[in-house]
């Protein structure tokens, strides 16, 4: 017995799939750069709005159209004398949190729907995926616009509407994975041990779906940030004086000849954020997806 314990202790530690994935991810320069930049951006979005001497909605009648690096405003001010630095990071904060919340909504719906359909199979699966097919062919951005028009624009609605739109692909991915997982031996073992279907889905199927889901989540966040900014740009998203990257770009575009900095700083921030997510997503896919190994 003690011999056995000793052998187990001295035996070389196996490399788990996640160790491999981490190693591959860290070897991907673009993904690592993306993670570092994104970390800085997220921290800045959390901290900078608290540190700026001006708040994002503070109107300074005496400091209108101040160019960047002149005077008290590092990034200049807009037509109402609002500090662009404060507004920019507030906007980033709003855009990132919409991305995070709406992605969570889509994650919950998508995983629940896909795992249930895939696990139960048969007619339930058929019906559930047919519904997804039907929803898939709808141009959803138009429905979000419709929602915004008929029910007015509030932040919660934007979260839910965009999240509810983006779960379809997630549910397809999860269903496909579940179908292959449910025939694995450990699921059989769990069933033989007398575990209920709900518990099997929760404890054995969902944790094993993590890989592809994580990849898809990192690609959903930028899509959602983009969708929100698109709405805000059209004047249907976040309402003033609240800022999001989309509203900032929209306002900047109106005054770009007079004050190009109002367009350039938010645009650069937006593009940088989206690129970080895309690099991380691509890196994760290469690291986790066993197909390309």
């Amino acid at each position: 017995m003690t011999d056995l314990v000793a052998t187990v202790k001295t035996a070389p530690r196996g490399r788990s799939l996640w160790d491999d994935a981490r190693r591959r991810l860290l070897a991907n320069k673009a993904a690592v750069a993306g993670m570092i930049v994104l970390f800085v951006l997220v921290m800045a979005a959390l901290i900078v709005p608290m540190l700026t001497p001006y708040t994002f909605d503070e109107i300074n009648k005496n400091d209108v159209w101040v160019p960047p690096l002149t005077g008290a405003h590092l990034l200049g001010t807009d037509s109402l004398g609002r500090d662009l630095l404060a507004r920019l990071f507030k906007g980033l904060q709003v855009s990132l949190s919409i991305g995070a919340v709406a992605t969570s909504v889509s994650l919950i719906i998508g995983v629940a729907w896909g795992a249930t359909a895939g696990y139960l199979g048969g007619r339930v699966d058929e019906t559930m995926m047919r519904i997804v097919d039907v929803l898939y062919s709808l141009p959803f951005i138009f429905f979000v616009i419709l929602l915004m028009v008929t029910f007015g624009q509030n932040l919660i609605l934007i979260f839910v509407a965009i999240g509810a739109v983006e779960w379809l692909t997630m549910s397809r991915i999860v269903r496909g994975q579940t179908l292959t997982l449910k025939h694995k031996e450990f699921v059989e073992a769990a069933r033989a041990a007398g575990l209920g279907q709900g518990a099997i889905i929760r404890r054995h199927i969902v944790p094993n779906l993590l890989g592809p889901v994580v990849v898809y989540v990192t690609l959903t966040i930028p899509a959602i940030i983009l969708a929100e900014s698109f709405l805000s740009f059209l004047g249907l998203g976040v309402q003033p004086p609240m800022a999001s990257l989309g509203t900032l770009i929209a306002n900047g575009a109106q005054d770009m000849e007079l004050a190009p900095w109002l367009l350039i700083f938010p645009s650069v921030t937006m593009v940088t954020t989206l690129m970080c997510f895309n690099f991380i997503g691509d890196g994760l896919r290469d690291a986790i997806d066993p197909k390309d190994r």
Binding site: V134, S137, I249, L274, N278
Partner: protein, 307 residues
């Protein structure tokens, strides 16, 4: 083929039905009625008006009537333009969007395929990395960033092109909007072409062609390209959906009198009927284009099984 068509119709019809139903009930849930003007109507007038538009009927009967009219292409009157129906508005504004969309699609196809081929032939060399960088940027830079940036550079600073306006469809006015619309599509098309080309160039029949001693040019254009761009046909549907979405932003920024601009204005003015009608129209359009793209790719590519 017939089976496939039937299957697709079986999905398309409930989809359209779902669109109309969602649109109708959203319209009814919207606060305020269509005839809440600044001036209150007298009870008699209100009753007559409501009877005219069937607003006095129970909701499900109104729904039935709306469904019937929608099937006949009648989406009701505009609330802001009292003398126009939604259909009039579609009819008056579609041309600009059509010209814009088709030009952008053509441009995106030409440039995207060319870039993709170059990247595939020079795989893992500077030209390839260059193209792939453009592809990443094209996906990450949204239309509403490209458009103002292009205007700032080419119109405001350099003064080469007009900042906005339609001007009867003059070429100078078209250049910037078309480029803006095409850029994200160029990015995706070049990626797809590159992937297709790389796969095809490894295949046996290309090796045979090479062994026969054909020139590289002939191999690429006549043999490889044809097979490599086939997957693009099925991308045409999503591409059109992307162009339609993009047109909302582009027509607004460049102040072009097309459907996209009208849709956004109606949305901001809460012209419910117009917004509903146009959502249904766009949904139907995208469904039809997707169907056509799938049929097209099946007709051209014998490997695609119509299931």
């Amino acid at each position: 083929m017939l089976r496939f068509l039937l299957r697709r119709l079986l999905v398309a019809i409930p989809t359209l039905f779902a669109v109309v139903t969602l649109a109708f009930f959203m319209m009814h849930a919207a606060p305020g009625g269509p005839f809440d003007g600044e001036r209150a109507l007298t009870p008699e007038v209100e009753r007559n008006v409501k009877a005219k538009y069937h607003l006095d009927l129970p909701v499900w009967e109104q729904y039935g009537l709306y469904l019937k009219d929608a099937v006949h292409g009648d989406f009701g009157p505009s609330l802001k333009y009292k003398d126009k129906t939604v259909l009039d508005i579609l009819h008056e504004n579609y041309l600009v969007s059509l010209v814009l969309g088709l030009s952008a699609l053509t441009l995106a196809m030409l440039i995207g395929i060319a870039l993709g081929v170059v990247a595939a032939l020079r795989q893992n060399r500077p030209a390839d990395y260059g193209v792939m960088t453009i592809a990443v940027l094209g996906v990450c830079i949204p239309t509403f960033v490209t458009a103002p940036m292009l205007v700032l550079l080419f119109a405001s600073i350099l003064g080469w092109l007009p900042t906005a306006g339609w001007n009867g469809g003059a070429l100078a006015n078209l250049i910037l909007p078309v480029i803006t619309l095409a850029l994200p599509q160029i990015a995706i098309i070049s990626r797809l072409t590159r992937a297709g080309m790389i796969e095809v160039l490894r295949s046996n029949y290309v090796r045979t062609a090479r062994a026969k001693g054909l020139s590289e040019m002939r191999i690429v254009v006549r043999h490889a390209l044809r097979a490599a761009v086939l997957p693009l046909v099925s991308y045409l549907g999503p591409a059109c959906a992307g162009l339609i979405t993009g047109s909302l932003v582009v027509e607004r920024i460049f102040n072009l009198p097309g459907l996209g601009k009208f849709f956004v204005i109606s949305a901001l003015q809460r012209d419910y009927t117009v917004v509903m009608g146009m959502v249904i129209f766009y949904a139907a359009l995208i469904l039809v284009l997707n169907l056509l793209a799938d049929i097209g790719s099946a007709l051209l590519d014998p490997r695609v099984k119509l299931a």
